[in-house]
Amino acid sequence: MPESAYDPEADERLGRAFDRRLAARLAEAARPHRGLIAGSMLMFPVIAVAELAQPWLLKIAIDDHILKSEWLGLTWVAGLYVTVLVVLYVLRTVEAYLMQLTGQRVIHDLREAIFDHLLRLEARFYDRNPVGRLMTRVLHDVEAVSEAFTSGLFAVVADVITLVGVVAVMLWIDWRLALVTFSIIPILLLVAVYFRLNARDAYREVRRRLARLNAFFQESLQGMRVIQLFVRERYERERFGRLNADYRRALFGSTVWEASLYAAVEALGSIALALLLWYGSGRIVAESLTFGALVAFIQYTNRFFLPIRDLGAKYTVMQWAMASSERIFGLLDRTPEIVSPSAPSPRPARPAPAALEFDSVWFAYEGDQWVLSDCSFSVMPGERVAIVGATGEGKTTCARLLNRSYDVRRGRVLVDGVDVREWDLTSLRRRIGIIVQDSVLFAGTIEENLRLGTDGAVSAADLSRALEAARAGFVAGLPKGLGELLGERGANVSHGQRQLLAIARALVYNPAVLILDEAMSSVDPESEALIRQAMAGLLAGRTSITIAHRLSTVHAADRILVLHHGRIHEEGAHADLVRRGGLYARLYELQTGAAPA
């Protein structure tokens, strides 16, 4: 069982060990691998026979050769034994591999399916599901599902075949002795189930307390400053000590059950052995049983103890697997809300700049907390428009509606006169480029990052032109130039350089409409100047909307829209708006006043 400490408690629930609906879904997931599964299944009987042959050979060796002092025959039996041994080793190896192969392939495919599905889900879904939880689905839940195959399905089938085989052989050798041995089975089952269920509950308690302990630990790390400021070190240490002791007690409890189970099964094994010897010897005295048969019996008995002992563990594994697959299928069953229409409006590949329009748009992220209420404006082809407004006024929301990250509640958003909901999603997003200045660079080389979203049709010359236009000359100075690797989130280039790369990337992407969402964060003045120059080049000859958090960049816009309380409050050119002395004039003064004198 995975001892993952970070699962939130919601992920701690056990499912039913068997759920027909889920099992059907799992079977469907395994369908592509049915050849493999069938192959592994076919091996089980062969392995069972080979395993059962060992004690049998031992019996023959003792009864027919050793007791009869037949040296030659013994060597022959030994040879046969070696053969069986080697065959069994090979078979088991192959079987173990086949099982893993199946399990790993199912994992691989499920991961792909989940990730694929996640890529199709809309922004709203991501607002509600933290990345950590989604990662658990992709990375850990699938592992539990594969356990359903390896530890569940396969193991159960293998155990059943072995058990049936052992029982059959024992009955065949001597049915009375067999029945004596079997008399212990009900007790064994009871013991196994009783201890295992308790062990499972104890283990669940361990996980609960560990989760609590770790949560406390993590919170303490985050709140260490508060603890230190209020001199609460001792108090917190005592609290931690209590949780720590709780956890230790639970852990020990689970150890007790687990160890007791093993000890009890062992004790039962010895009782069975004693029974065998006691009853068997009587029979040997009566000469109705051979020594070899008794010895073989002892070995066979061992072989059916183990599967029964581990029955409970498998049951628990199945429960985990079912709970995990329920979460996985729950995710896969979620229909993406924002998809291309089944019959998108035909889009002639138009090189001309595009026109945009917001037509009485209403939008809220949550309930009726309207971010945009009856917001209308239009942007002519080739026009450069800037949207300004106080923080939280929905400027960024406009960009998100344009590329259908979200859908409007009411009204329409039009691109080239066509409602975005009638566009093919990919063509729409290809036509509208959004640059978030505080941009994400992906792990990979600079070149890979520049080529993002283009289909390889970009020449090296295009790349260097874009870099030049984006004032990203620093790339040439890097040891490996375009081939330089960017770390996680592009950590090894400076903030300003990252923005320049984002601009270069947009130039390479070359969309007809450019939406520029300015970063709030400040960069050093030198980079700032470079960025401003690069922007100017980027906007030339395109329809563009600049979402301005700093007004210093909007002078050049053809028109400025002032967004206030969810709609357009003022619009016009910079000079007009300043003259008008309205909201924009105040915003402008605010911004320029804020700049250091």
């Binding site: 400490a5 003792i62 050793i66 040296w71 013994l74 069986v84 041994l85 080793y89 088991r92 190896t93 079987e95 591999y97 893993q100 790993q104 392939r105 691989h108 990730f115 890529l119 989604l134 990662m135 770790n214 949560a215 303490s220 790390l221 260490m224 400053r225 508060v226 230190q228 001199v231 070190e233 917190e236 720590n244 852990l251 020990f252 150890t255 007790v256 160890a259 004790a267 094994g269 052995l273 004693a274 010897l277 010897s281 020594f291 008794l294 010895v295 002892i298 106080a390 509208i432 978030v436 994400v440 992906f442 792990a443 979203g453 992407y509 105040r586 003064e589 605010l590 006043g593 804020a594």
Partner: protein, 597 residues
């Protein structure tokens, strides 16, 4: 025992005391089982106890670190140490120890038993063992390597998932889905490949046990059988031999595994010692005359910081002679435990503060404060204002010694804070940090922080002053409502007011508010500010804020810019002066106008 039984049977079937033997077998099994259970409980219990102690030590060590440490170590890294490293050490002490000891005993015991039965046969039976041991070791190394490779690739896969899921907005905007899919597909396929490589090795490894057991049996049948045929050995001895040999199988196979657990445990132990060792160093650094035994502290708090010494302006001398005790060993007793005669309204004497030619830089960065000098008279309220990054917060952090100020720069009542014991220094400070950190506990606990007996202000009254009591009353469980991930979510403003109440509850003579109202809305802020003015009259207050409304009623305003004091005086004077403060004031007014528009 089995040997005796069988031999007895063979010797004289009619008179063999089989019943007695059978009973003896059961008895021995019970003794063996219970003693094993006992030893297992003892060792596991001990290892779990050590685990708990280690975790407590780690926690205690972490409590001694200043923010500098938390800047350098991510929460994730520290969590890993508390989870996987401690678990690895537990495995080393628990399973590793059990396994090592039982391996040694198994080898010694079984060897002795086997030698007693038949030395020659023992030699025969053990002949294949060195080879098998080597084989197991090789397998084990390979399994380890491949497991590591697969684990590493899983991290890569997990990074990919995290990167794309958290950069989903960019993925959408640039239609990167195909690329993401391909990228993920590659990492996923590589993981499949490495997992299967691991599976191949493991598939050969696990059945090895069967092979070893089988070979042992084979040798015994063959060589032993011959001995029986020749009459040199009894049949019972042969069967017993076979049984003994089985005891050797598991330890042999597990040896490599055990060794790797030991190795991993030792590595983890080192990682843990890094932290606890660093804590000792930290404590040593702090302890240079600063960390004091508990006995002295209450005296100081009562005498020095709270009431002062009647007719004396000199610092409390008792500290200077205080023995230095490392913080780790001396749990810092909570200062407020000392009964407080005064109440919130009138601390008998508030201390004065003085910053004198304070220049301070965070490690590896340009100085955050340049030659800052000013005084705060006892009972005075001083507001520190200035643009973001002007050094306001740094002053508070240095005063509370969350960062160490240079000696001779920060004084409370004329005493260098570096000479005041940390615990009493902080107990005398009510520090309300910007972030409004709450623990996942009830609101009442968040305010009291377990100081219930010691609080001079009731939790409710403190909440009243902070202007949050009424809102708390409206929560389902009132003050007992639990906040945090699994409880209520408070708004940023509510959180800040709860942390304010937390500071007020201690009735500290000095109150430091570090932008404590940043998220509180303007109307509420007025109310809280008015409450506060009444409640803190007579206390020394340092108020850092960029909201000038909160600052303008202060006795004095100090304006910081880029780490220097540029202006100081009362609100009206500063506005008239037309400097930085006047400009900031104008910006504030504009913001208010825009908000009202």
């Amino acid at each position: 025992m089995v040997k005796r039984t069988i031999d007895a049977l063979q010797a004289d079937p009619a008179t063999a005391p089989v019943g007695a033997y059978a009973a003896l077998i059961v008895l021995l099994a019970l003794v063996h089982g219970s003693s094993r259970l006992g030893s297992r409980f003892a060792i596991t219990g001990a290892s779990q106890k050590i685990e708990a102690d280690l975790r407590s030590d780690l926690y205690a060590a972490l409590q001694t670190f200043p923010p500098r440490f938390y800047g350098a170590h991510s929460t994730g890294d520290l969590m890993a140490r508390s989870t996987s490293d401690i678990t690895a050490v537990r495995s080393l002490l628990g399973f590793g120890a059990i396994s090592l000891v039982s391996t040694v005993f198994a080898f010694v015991g079984v060897l002795a038993a086997m030698l007693a039965v038949d030395p020659w046969l023992t030699l025969w039976a053990l002949a294949p063992y060195p080879a098998l041991l080597l084989l197991a070791r090789r397998f084990n190394l390979k399994v380890n390597d491949r497991a590591q490779a697969a684990q590493d690739q899983l991290s890569v896969l997990s990074e990919r998932v995290q990167e794309y899921l958290s950069g989903m907005a960019v993925v959408r905007a640039y239609t990167l889905e195909p690329r993401a899919r391909a990228d993920f597909g590659r990492a996923n396929a590589e993981y499949l490949r490495l997992s299967l490589a691991l599976a191949r090795t493991e598939a050969g490894f696990s059945p090895l046990m069967g092979l070893i057991a089988g070979v042992g049996t084979l040798v015994v049948i063959w060589a032993g059988g011959r001995a029986v045929v020749d009459g040199r050995l009894s049949l019972g001895a042969l069967v017993a031999f076979n049984g003994y040999l089985a005891y050797l199988t598991w330890p042999t196979v597990a040896l490599g595994w055990t060794l790797s657990i030991v190795r991993r445990g030792l590595t983890s132990m080192t990682r843990l010692e890094e932290i606890t060792g660093a804590a000792a160093v930290e404590a040593g650094a702090v302890a240079t005359g600063l960390v004091v035994a508990g006995a002295v502290r209450p005296a100081l708090t009562e005498g020095g910081l709270r009431e002062g010494r009647p007719g004396s302006d000199t610092p409390v001398p008792s500290v200077a002679v205080t023995p230095v005790v490392p913080a780790v060993d001396t749990p810092v007793p909570f200062v407020a435990v000392a009964p407080r005669p005064s109440t919130a309204s009138t601390p008998s004497r508030a201390p004065g503060l003085r910053f004198s030619h304070l220049t301070f830089a965070y490690e590896g960065r340009a100085p955050a404060l340049h030659d800052v000098s000013f005084e705060v008279a006892p009972g005075e309220t001083v507001a520190l204002v200035g643009p973001t990054g002007s050094g306001k917060s740094t002053l508070g952090l240095l005063l509370a010694r969350l960062w160490e100020p240079p000696a001779g720069t920060v004084f409370i009542d004329g005493r260098d804070v570096k000479e005041i014991p940390l615990a009493s220094l902080r107990a005398g400070l009510g520090f309300v940090p910007q972030e409004g950190f709450l623990f996942s506990r009830s609101i009442a606990e968040n305010i009291s922080l377990g100081r219930d007996d010691a609080l001079s202000v009731r939790v409710r009254d403190a909440a009243d002053v902070a202007g949050i009591a009424e809102e708390i009353d409206r929560f389902p469980a009132g003050f007992d409502s639990v906040v945090g991930e699994r409880g209520l979510t408070l708004s940023g403003g509510q959180r800040q007011r709860v942390t304010l109440a937390r500071a007020l509850a201690g009735a500290p003579p000095i109150l430091v508010l570090d932008d404590a109202f940043a998220s509180v809305d303007a109307a509420k802020e007025e109310e809280v500010a008015a409450n506060l003015r009444r409640a803190v009259s007579g206390r020394t207050v340092l108020l850092m804020t960029h909201r000038l409304r909160a600052a303008c009623t202060a006795d004095r305003i100090i304006v910081l810019d880029a780490g220097r004091v540029v202006e100081s005086g009362r609100h009206e004077a500063l506005v008239r002066r037309g400097g930085l403060y006047a400009r900031l004031w104008r910006i504030q007014q504009l913001e208010e106008e825009i908000a009202r528009a």
